[in-house]
Amino acid sequence: MKRNLSVLLSLVVLASLLLAACGAPTPTEAPAATEAPAATEAPTEAPAAYEGLKVEAPDCEYGGEFKSIEAVDEFTVKVTLCVPDPAFPSKIAFSSFAIQPQEYLESTGGTGDLLEKPVGTGPYMVESWERGNQLVFTRFDDYWGEPAMNQTLVFRWGTESAQRLLELQSGTVDGIDNPGPDDFATIEDDANLQLIPRPALNVMYIGFNNNPQVEGFDNTTNPLANEKVRQAIAMGIDRQRIVDNFYPVGSEVADYFTPCAIPNGCVGDAWYGFDATAAKALLTEAGYPDGFETVLNYRDVVRGYLPDPNIVAQDIQAQLKENLNITVNIEVMESGAFLDAADSGQLQGIHLLGWGADYPDQTNFLGYHFGAGASKQFGDKFEDITSALDSGAQLASDAERAPFYEAANNAIKQHVPMIPVAHGGSAVAFKATVEGAHASPLGNENFSVTGVSGQDTFVWMQNAEPISLYCADETDGESLRACEQVTQSLLGYEIGGTAVEPVLAESYEPNADLTEWTFHLRQGVKFHDGSSLDANDVVTSLALQWDAASPLHKGNTGAFSYWSGLFGSFLNAPAQ
């Protein structure tokens, strides 16, 4: 009986496999068939024969920035926006918006294989991923640009900075990310190694949940809901001491949330100076002469903006006790749970978090954190901050935007939703023999230009394993760096810098009011599966993120956080 059942079961499985095998090619073949003639007849009548896809929102009421994405012809994509967006090129260049072949996306259903085997246009393609061990890439020989320096690129990872340095010193890896701040001198003194500082395009801040009803303060009001308390804390923490003692060289005290290298980053009044007496007086005035008890949450994860989380947290704890008699209980949380709790406004008290630039624009700093669409990380929003940011984001030139960002920075200083602490310098280290070694302020080091002459394999060791390789649905820098070796977006950032440069789009132009952006695709670009890049690949890759009703809108968790963070609501988003 049992045997019969298992035979039956395997038959059913076989049948379904057969069905799937027969069923799958039909949808993928169909577009290929229509495209094939178009491609061959391209020189004469290409536009007429090309069936371009178009995804369009019925109106702009749904709350997002996109109005439509359209494949005008085989090599032209037009994006229409609901509101002017001067930062659009910087945003669309981000690695979450990388292009993959339409056929491949459809055959994977938007998840599954896609998470481990991305098919991109980049200089490397994924060869194998042994989970927990290593990720191996090989050179893509049909790459449209300069071929990669190495035949094989290997990503490894280790959470302990001591371990990463040891591997570099012993020569088992060629480059490492984030050496420990105390090891900078060791690396610089070692003739076999080179240390490359990474410019500090990030910020570490002490966030407050200002919501009076936050969980955990059921019977008493949350003291942090009081603006004076937050101002007192802002004055009562010696940020210079933190940066001097616990940050590596190249770090600086943050006087604004946004680093000064970003246009309009440092406009308005600089942050409060350290003054323990004034702080204590203000806290007394706010009604807490004897201080109070609160919680400090953070994740024990090393990032460029926070090289030593435990030590910094304990120093803040000691300072608040000494200067303001505020008792701080430290609670270390798991990284994912911490970010979720922060975003949904469930963290009580104080938290330590930071932000590294994804693209060099104020919308990525102030807009993302304090704008109307920002998360509940800091509790209730402040109307004067959000309105200034909304107005600023829609203006084209930096000069026009300046007064609004000045107003926003001043309002942030007054309300203190958080205390900017430091722009943390970090570094990468390579063997001295490595050519093309560089560090990127955006954290996207490009290993197609980095290698050792006469050596086929280049091994890179970073902080952690990628979560998945479908970066439309990842926010973790360790995943993004791996994706960036394989997949490319319409635009990109210069190697080791932040300037936007054309990648898959050879050129692009906006209309006068910055709501229509036309991208002209590079011709003859091949994907790793041998297919050619065309406009429908672009439309499919982007629309599946935008359109929550798309059958391909699955990804790893389905959150597509960068899309919603940069472009607002999803199309057809399910009602909450």
């Binding site: 420990g180 435990n310 030590i311 120093d315 704890q317 209980n329 430290i330």
Partner: protein, 315 residues
């Protein structure tokens, strides 16, 4: 074994009593004859002394970062004036930690915490374990089955893993870590007590008490348990060592004592990345844990031998 004091007094007065030597006196004598046990006791004695007098011994406040107070950098190397460290530099026998706190002071206060952890968790586990084991051994039947199967389930998990699971549910913190370690060590004591109760239960003096109409509680707590105590003492002493190790492991993982508490495990964990740049910050707490655990293990081994009646002829 159990002697009624009034009876002895009576016998004494009649001049009939032999010079009685109690079990504890014998044990004590045997214990002192074992070198390893003496070493264990000496180390333990010093540790207890340090724990009791930490506030007078420690040159600095263990929680006070010395930034701005002294010219000293974080993770400074040990500086001992007697060993040639220039007098212009402040003396830190074991250097400073990542937050520029005096490592030596923290280590001294850590002794207090570690001994407290060992004693409280084991006392907790012994109390609960003894009650469960005694009930189980005395009543037998379904009570025995129920309690022992639950204990088997607890024993089936690796103890540290179970402790981590419990702390994850309760939330990190020293108290919760103590509770977790206490809970995972219950089964050992329950089993030890149950085994002794089973053997003592059938002895003649117990039957005698029962025949004379002693009630259950009387029999269990006045007759059986005192006679089942010996293995428990040995197990408890060794258990303290395990508990200290477990607590250090939990704190190392960030689940036990929360900063800035000077707990050895968390001190070790906090500086694990500095093992090459500032090895003293990893060495001293690690050495302290080792020494404490060693002392309890030596003492426990000594006690076991001393209490073992089969080795009586050796004395």
């Amino acid at each position: 074994m159990i002697t009624d004091t009034s009876k002895i007094a009576q016998l004494d007065s009649e001049g009939l009593s032999l010079r009685s030597v109690s079990l504890w006196q014998i044990t004590w004598r045997r214990l002192f004859r074992r070198k390893s046990a003496v070493v264990g006791m000496v180390i333990l004695g010093i540790l207890i002394l340090i724990a009791l007098t930490a506030q007078w011994l420690a040159p600095y406040d263990p929680l006070q970062p010395l930034i701005g107070i002294e010219q000293i950098s974080k993770r400074a190397n040990p500086c001992i004036h007697l060993l040639g460290c220039p007098a212009s530099e402040p003396q830190h026998i074991m250097g400073t930690d990542g937050n520029v706190r005096d490592e030596f002071s923290r280590l001294l206060y850590g002794a207090r915490l570690s001994l407290m952890i060992g004693l409280t968790t084991v006392s907790f586990a012994i109390i609960i374990g003894t009650v469960l084991g005694a009930l189980s051994g005395y009543f037998g039947g379904w009570v025995d089955n129920l309690i022992m199967r639950v204990m088997d389930v607890l024993l089936a998990f690796p103890s540290l893993l179970l402790a981590i699971a419990i702390v994850t549910v309760l939330g990190p913190g020293l108290q919760n870590a103590l509770l977790a370690i206490g809970i995972v060590s219950i089964p050992t004591y329950a089993r030890v007590v149950r085994a002794s109760v089973l053997s003592v239960r059938e002895m003649d003096f117990v039957s005698a008490t029962r025949a004379m109409g002693g009630n259950t509680i009387q029999i269990l707590f006045r007759r059986i348990l005192p006679n089942a105590l010996t293995p428990l003492i040995v197990q408890g002493t060794l258990g303290i060592a395990t508990a200290i190790l477990d607590a250090a492991a939990l704190s190392f993982l960030g689940l036990g004592a929360q900063p800035p508490t000077p707990e050895w495990g968390s001190m070790l964990g906090a500086e694990r990345n500095q093992v090459f740049t500032a090895p003293h910050l990893v060495f001293y707490p690690g050495f302290a844990i080792m020494l404490t655990v060693l002392s309890f293990n030596l003492l426990g081994d000594g006690l076991r031998d001393a209490l073992d009646p089969r080795l009586a002829h050796i004395s």
